[in-house]
């Protein structure tokens, strides 16, 4: 890693001002930023840490919404009885991500903004399309973990566990900057496909900091199912978050596309119906309809079907196959 100056923000306004000036790299828990620095994928001159801004660490229930500060850790979410009870899809996505140690450091803001885990991207040696190079190594290379939806010209999968649940639950993200003050965007509008923006995975502009995320209301039912190769210290192969809101079911998939992937085809099948095993199965099949796998990741299509079916069954309180 290169040498850099380390600034610790004590006040949000100071952090916004310094970050807005455009010199600093923002760090929350640092789980991802430090990885990037160590691999020399970024070589910041100044790292601005916001992890002491305790005013951004909260889980608050209000009349119209539940609000979660961007510095709330995944472990905080795991410990929240409120979220476990009312926002199961979000709670379990956070509570089981990564490992206990990582969850204690990893923040909501950092999790939503972490860079892709594509193993070509993560290696300094390989100058791929996303890093300004000429090739996407995933196209003809080892692409077993890459996208089956929404790929091209880059085939990353979005690595956040909590983003699909946030979208399925119709959540929003509040962003602040010195220049334009605060703005709230729908979570589903936050992420961008590589065909629209190759070098960034979201709409954040220079100097913008996520303040909080919020859910408008508790769903009637919700659940997240994560399918992993390894059961600890690993990212999901496929993740499905489902929620039954007033108007009907929402289905959003993780680890299958460059953004959290809203499965309109599954939602069309589901409407606002009661879940039966048959319906869940049909919805799972529907979720996989438009998949366009690469050479090594066809198996993820099957995983999508199963994850969606099981997430719906879990949300509906039906029995989901398990080891025990």
């Amino acid at each position: 890693m290169n040498s850099f100056d380390y600034h610790v923000a004590e006040e949000l306004s100071a952090a916004l001002a310094e970050y807005g000036a455009g010199q600093a790299t923002l760090k929350a828990g640092g789980m991802d930023v430090l990885d990037l620095i160590k691999e020399r994928l970024i070589e910041p001159e100044v790292v601005l840490s916001i992890d002491r801004l305790d005013q951004l660490r909260y889980i608050r229930e209000e009349q119209e919404a539940v609000r979660i500060g961007s510095l709330t850790t995944l472990a905080d979410i795991g410990r929240s009885e409120l979220l476990a009870r009312k926002f199961n899809a979000f709670h379990s996505a956070a509570a089981h991500a990564a490992t206990p140690q990582i969850r204690e450091r990893a923040t909501v803001g950092g999790n939503l903004c972490q860079r892709p885990r594509c193993w070509f991207f993560r290696n300094r040696e390989l100058h791929c399309l996303k890093k300004g190079g000429a090739t996407c190594f995933a196209v003809e290379g080892e692409n077993r973990y890459h996208a089956i939806f929404g790929g091209g010209p880059c085939y990353i999968v979005h690595p956040s566990n909590i983003a699909p649940a946030l979208i399925a639950l119709d959540g929003s993200i509040t962003i602040a900057s010195v220049e334009s003050g605060n703005r709230e965007v729908k979570a589903e509008d936050f992420f961008v496909l590589p065909e629209d923006s190759l070098y960034a995975e979201n709409i954040l502009k220079e100097g913008e900091i996520i303040l909080e995320i919020s859910f408008p209301m508790a769903p009637l039912r919700s659940a997240t199912i994560e399918l992993r190769e390894k059961q600890s210290f690993d990212w999901p192969l496929v993740l499905a978050s489902v929620a039954r809101l007033k108007k009907g079911w929402h289905v959003c998939l993780g680890a299958v596309a460059p953004i959290p992937w809203i499965s309109q085809s599954a939602m069309d099948v589901l409407g606002n119906k009661e879940i039966t095993l048959e319906l869940a199965t049909v919805a799972g099949e529907a979720a996989a309809i438009d998949a366009d796998p690469l050479e090594e990741n066809e198996y993820k299509v099957q995983l999508v079907k199963v994850a969606v079916r099981r997430a719906l069954m879990a949300a509906a309180g039906l029995e989901v196959p398990s080891w025990n």
């Binding site: 890693m1 290169n2 040498s3 020399r40 070589e43 490992t99 885990r117 193993w119 070509f120 993560r122 290696n123 300094r124 040696e125 390989l126 090739t135 190594f137 003809e140 290379g141 080892e142 077993r144 399918l227 992993r228 190769e229 390894k230 059961q231 600890s232 210290f233 690993d234 192969l237 090594e296 990741n297 198996y299 099957q302 995983l303 199963v306 196959p321 398990s322 080891w323």
Partner: protein
């Protein structure tokens, strides 16, 4: 199972490791903990790709970085990602890293060789074995012929404590710290590199965080540290970072194994042909596969080819050539059992070469609940249950080592061994041998290992350390005890010490007794010093370190995800000394074998040869939740046996046991490791397409 205890053995000892406090509190010092005053740092400059040529590097910029002393590029072309093409020396680690970045190296890469299956010579083009015709004849006369091809991946060494060395050259002497499996070899290599005699080099390695066959000599890290230290007459430190550790410190080579075996209709294997290929580095060899082994395969014609791949070189790794062989062999055994319509356990009993293992198979089957095993693929529901078997053994002969025992006037017993504790609990084993033989409590004991100044021990490879040293320790303990008993006999005016016993810290005669500490006061000098380099009566017949394991798995056939529920691991260790360290070795081996079978895999990019998962998140290693219930069973023989090998044998059966259990669960064999969800689902859909 039974075991006859007598006063000449140390065993049934449940105490924790001697160094438990140091390990838990972090005060145990590893090589990387040594920061010497005025120390220099050095590292290698490495190639980014497989087969590549350096086009440009900004050496001048790198040299101009503050605190950088040297930047040397020594070669222009490199053969694998991580290959060393030069080195940097600096006053700090920061300067090293900045210099590497400033080099801005550009390489021209050729199309690399990355796939064993593409680079190997085809089966039909291989030079036949000498007895090929004979084996063909056997096959021709068999009722049934079964064939299959099996593949295993490259497993990197990935030691938690990286390869490292700190050297301080002082003109006519040197002090060095290194992470090693052989203090003696490391010291000798350093002495040669520094132009010193071995006695002029003081070498220390108190604790090691993983070696597994990759840490014998001083290695590249020691060489660079020695060269720089000698040149600048200052201490120098070279420590691999995680990526370097993954790329350039060795691996278990990948394999392909083709087996064509003939058998009789009643299940007796008669012989056949086996071809194996091992994926080695860009040059050289080392890809051997121990197939056939363990079972009685009759007449086998075996051929092997080492296949060059533009990736890091292989090295010995915990039972080199064995776990990969037993993966193929156990699957083949199961397939043959299916062909003759026999229970796989019964089929193994019929073709087993070891009577002892037959008994272990019987006991293990009971422990795992083999009778609950369903026919292949027939367990109900989407989560299918399966049972599998793996076996192993390990052979070695007695070898040389020396053990020192000092008994001080205050009663302290000091055990000295220059062998290294590579994390196995060697220090505990050797200390417990001495003190339990002498009948003393742990607090009377001091054990010193891991320094070149101590009596020489063997290199810790081939699972020989305990096997070689334990008999010497028994003999030294016997001699030391007898010397004290003789002093007591003299004090009590007895003719000799034959009627005296040493038990629980007391020396007991016919009608009197004396505390050990008081007895030691009878010596006139500072200490009684014993050095033992012979086995004496303690060099008993070794066992075969036989191992039998049974696995129970649950496989989700909708997702291909495998959950290993339980592994029963029976292990013959000869004379068991300390239960904790033995169980620890067995459980560690099971976890490592499971991790190899299900997760670990070096992935080289097919276009550049770059290892894309040279880290510990994308190179997947089993985590806590992946670890099953492990039931280690220490097998006791009915006869008196010596302490025997334990390091390697328990890792050998694991992949075979898990792979056969998975096949039993899902009704189709997955013949390529690691057994990922992708491969499971593919095998299931192929099976469905066929039916």
């Amino acid at each position: 199972m039974s075991y006859r205890n007598d006063n000449r053995v140390a065993l049934e000892n449940d105490e924790p490791r001697l160094e438990i406090r140091e390990k838990v509190t972090g005060s145990a010092k590893y090589t990387t903990d040594y920061y010497l005053p005025n120390m220099l740092w050095a590292c290698y400059i490495r190639c980014d790709f497989g087969d590549a040529r350096l086009r440009s590097a900004d050496v001048e910029s790198a040299r101009s970085i503050h605190d950088v002393l040297e930047v040397e590029l020594e070669k222009k072309s490199a053969r694998y990602h991580g290959d060393r093409i030069g080195y940097i020396c600096a006053e700090s680690r920061q300067a090293l890293e900045q210099a590497i970045a400033a080099l801005k190296m550009k390489f021209a890469a050729s199309w690399p060789r990355t796939m064993l299956e593409e680079e190997r010579t085809a089966l039909e083009d291989l030079e036949p074995a000498e007895n090929d015709v004979q084996a063909e004849n056997v096959i021709d006369t068999c009722d049934l012929v079964v064939q299959g091809e099996f593949q295993t991946q490259v497993q990197t060494h990935c030691c938690l404590e990286p390869h490292s060395c700190v050297v301080h050259f002082r003109g006519d002497s040197a002090v060095a710290y290194g992470s090693t499996q052989s203090n003696v070899a490391f010291r000798d290599d350093l002495a040669r590199e520094l132009g010193l005699r071995p006695d002029q080099v003081e070498f220390h390695c108190e604790h090691v965080g993983g070696g597994f066959g990759s840490k014998f000599g001083m290695d590249n890290e020691g060489r660079l540290a020695a060269q720089i230290s000698k040149k600048y007459q200052r201490p120098c430190r070279v420590v691999c970072n995680r990526k370097e550790e993954m790329l350039d410190t060795g691996n278990r080579p990948g394999s392909l194994q083709h087996m064509r075996i003939g058998l009789t209709r009643d299940g007796k294997i008669r012989g056949g042909k086996i071809a194996t290929w091992g994926s080695v580095g860009p040059t050289g060899g080392g890809g051997g596969v121990s197939n056939p082994s363990r079972y009685d395969f009759g007449t086998i014609a075996k051929v092997h080819q080492d296949v060059h791949i533009d990736g890091g070189f292989p090295r010995a790794m915990r039972a080199p050539g064995h776990p990969q062989a037993m993966f193929a062999i156990e699957l083949m055994m199961d397939q043959m059992a299916v062909e003759v319509n026999m229970d796989p356990l019964e089929f193994r009993q019929l073709n087993e070469t070891s009577e002892l293992r037959k008994e272990m198979l019987r006991v293990g089957a009971e422990q795992i609940g083999w009778s609950e095993r369903q026919p292949n693929g027939l367990s109900p529901g989407p989560i299918k249950r399966g049972f599998g078997i793996g076996v192993a053994d390990w052979g070695n002969r007695p070898g040389t080592a020396a053990i020192g025992v000092n008994v001080y006037r205050n009663g302290t017993v000091e055990v000295l061994s220059g062998a290294q504790d590579i994390g196995t609990g060697y220090r505990t084993m050797i200390g417990d041998v001495v003190r339990t033989y002498m009948g003393l409590p742990r607090n009377a004991l001091v054990v010193k290992v891991g320094s070149s100044d101590l009596p020489p021990g063997p290199a810790s490879g081939g699972s020989v350390t305990s096997r070689f040293t334990a008999p010497k320790a028994f003999l030294a303990a016997e001699k030391a005890r007898n010397r004290i008993l003789e002093l007591v006999a003299k004090e009590w005016k007895l003719n000799d010490a034959s009627g005296l016993n040493l038990e629980d810290g007391r020396i007991i005669g016919q009608d009197q007794s004396i505390q050990w500490k008081d007895a030691c006061q009878l010596m006139t000098g500072d200490r009684i010093a014993i050095l033992s380099d012979e086995d004496g009566a303690f060099g008993k017949d070794p066992t075969g370190s036989e191992a039998v394991q049974f696995a129970e798995v649950a496989v989700d056939v909708e997702t291909g995800i495998i959950h290993v529920k339980k592994i029963v691991a029976l292990q013959n260790v000869g004379l068991p000394v300390n239960r904790n360290t033995i169980e620890n070795q067995i459980c560690g081996a099971v976890i490592q074998g499971l991790s190899f079978c299900l997760f670990e895999e070096r992935v080289l990019n097919n276009q550049t040869g770059t290892m894309v998962n040279a880290n510990m998140d994308m190179y997947k290693i089993a985590g806590p939740v992946d670890v099953p219930e492990i039931v280690p069973i220490i097998w006791r023989e009915q006869r008196e046996v010596a302490v025997n090998s334990l390091g390697e044998p328990p890792v050998v059966p694991v992949p075979g046991a898990i792979a056969t259990a998975v096949a039993n669960a899902i009704g189709v064999q997955v013949r390529s490791m690691p057994l990922t969800p992708r491969k499971i689902l593919t095998a299931l859909s192929e099976k469905e397409a066929k039916s």
